[in-house]
Symmetry: C2
Subunit: 333 residues, 2 copies
Amino acid sequence: MKASAIANLNIALVKYWGKRNKELILPKNSSISVTIEGLFSHTTVEFGEEYKDDIFVLDGKEFKRGSEEYDEYIEKFLNFVRQFSKINFRAKIVSKNNFPPAAGLASSAAGFAALATAINKALNLALSQTELSILARRGSGSATRSIFGGFVEWRKGVKEDGSDSSAVQIVPPDYWPDFRILICLTSKKEKKIKSRAGMEQTVKTSPYYRAWLATVDEDLKKAKKGILEKNFTLVGKTAEENCLKMHATMITTYPPIIYWNEGTIEVIRSVLNWREGGLETYFTIDAGPQVKILCKELDVSEVKKRLKNIKTLENTILARPGRGARITKRHLF
Amino acid sequence: MKASAIANLNIALVKYWGKRNKELILPKNSSISVTIEGLFSHTTVEFGEEYKDDIFVLDGKEFKRGSEEYDEYIEKFLNFVRQFSKINFRAKIVSKNNFPPAAGLASSAAGFAALATAINKALNLALSQTELSILARRGSGSATRSIFGGFVEWRKGVKEDGSDSSAVQIVPPDYWPDFRILICLTSKKEKKIKSRAGMEQTVKTSPYYRAWLATVDEDLKKAKKGILEKNFTLVGKTAEENCLKMHATMITTYPPIIYWNEGTIEVIRSVLNWREGGLETYFTIDAGPQVKILCKELDVSEVKKRLKNIKTLENTILARPGRGARITKRHLF
C-alpha cells in the first residue's frame, strides 16, 4: 500500500477565487490554467498498520497535529479518503517540491494532485482522471486542475455534492509548443495570507466580488477560444485582465489583501512598458508576489535580457505547458 | 486688472474619479477632502489690452498653444471666464507651486483654486465662495474643494447646468487640530497618465466602476460622521478603503491604470503592518504614486522614525488641515 506520484503545478489564466461550499471545496466560478512542466511536487504515500497516526513531512519538515497544514489540509483529506475508500489505515506522506513552498506558486495544487494520484495507486482505487481530479479538489481547489496536462478547465459544476466539479483538458501540452511562461520570483519569503482564508474574506467583504463573478464567464469563453486558436494576444490579454480583476477584489477585501511587493510592481510596470514598445508580453499573478510573464518562445531571450535590469528580482524560471500528474517508481522513503 | 492668490492643495478622503459631464466637469459622485496647510499654488493673473494672446507660465516654464496644459486647461478656462464675465481681454497667468508638479499631488486643484480666486479680484466679479468653487471646478474638478479650508465636501449636485455642483466646508481647519497627514514622495517623476484621460477610460471600461459608485454614498456618510466626531479610526478606515476601491477600478481599466510604484507598495505594506502592531495609521493615494499617511499628532515622530527605514522614499512632508484659497498682495510679475 505504498505509491509515489509527481504532479506539476499549474498557473491560472482565469482565476479561482472564492468558494460556494467550503467543506467540499466547490468554487464560485470555473477557471482555466496551464499545467507547467518541471515545477512539481513529488509525493510518496504509504498506508499501513504500523502507523499509529498520520505522518506528514513536506520538504524535510514534519508537520504535527496542531499545525494548520496537518489539521486543515492533510488530516481532513486523509479522513475523507478513509471514509470513501473504507480503508481505515493511517498513512505516512512524504512530499518534496522543487520550488520554494508557500511563495504563491500554488504548491498545494501540485501537492494534492500528486497525493491523490499516489493514493489512487497505493489503495488500488482505480479512479478515472476525472475522479482523481475530484479527489484532488478535496485537498486544494487548484489541485483539481494539476491532474491534467496542457491547458485545463476546472468546471465549477452545479450539483450540491460536487460530483460534477472537476477538471477537463482543453488541449494537451504539445498543442501549443511555443507558449512560454517566465516565472519571476520576487520574494522567497512565506506569504502572510493563505489563499483559503483570503478568498473567504473576499467573498464576505469585497464590494467588487459580485462584479468579478459577473465577468468571469466572458473571460472563460475568450481564454478557451484563444487557446484553441493559439491566439496569443487573446489569451494574454484575457489572462492579464482577469488577474487584475482578481487582485482588485483582493485589495478591496477588508482587511485588505495585498500580495504585491516592490518586485511585483516593477515587473508589472515593465511588462506594460515593453508591450507599449512592441514586445508582446502579458503578466498574471496568483495569491502571492510572484509575477508570471506570458510570452512567445521567440521572445524569451529578449524578455530574459530585460529582466536582468530589474534589481528586485531574485530569480526567474522558464516554463512551458507540461504533463499531468503521473505515477513514479521513485519513492521518497 | 491684476491680482494674486494662494490656494492649498487638498487630499481626498473620499475620492472623485469619473465625470458625468466632461464639458462642465460634473462628477459622478460627491467627494470629501482635507485642505492642507503649506503646500500651495501662488498665482498672479492680469487681464489687459497689452496681451495679444493668453500667456501661461507654470513654475518658470511657459506653456504655448498646442500643449495640453494650454489648450485643454488654461485656454478653455479663460474662454469660459471671458464668456460669463463679458470681459474680453486676454490674460497673463504666472503660477508657482511649492511642490513637485504633476506628481500626483493634485497641482491642478491648488492651481485653479488660486486662479479662480485671483480672477475674482482682478475682474471685480464679487463671487461668493460657493460661486468661486463652481468657477474653480471648470478648471479642474478637485479645485472645487481647494477654495475652502479644513474638511470639505464637494457635493456632486443634480442639475444639468452644474449650478449646484460646488463645495461646502464641513468643519474649519482648527476644528481637529491633531489630525496629521504625512505625504510620502516616492517619485518626483511626472506621472504618465493624466487623471482627466484616466478617469474617462475607467468610466468606459472598468467592470467595477458601477460597484464603486454604489458604495460611495456610504463612505461619504461615514467620513462626514467621523470628521464631525473627530473619530480618527472611522475617518482613517473609510479613507483607506475608499482609496483601495478607487485604485481597484483603475487597475481594472483597459488599458490598466497603475499609479503605484515600488515605493507606493512599500509604504502601503508598512502602514498595514504598523497598524497590526498597534500604531494607528491609514493611507490614501490619489492619481499618482505618492502615499499620504493619516495619523494623529502624537504618533508623528514614531511614524517619521519608521519611514526612515523605507529606502524607496525620497522625501516626506508633514501637513495639517489648512486654510482655503485667499488673496495675496505678493504678485509674481
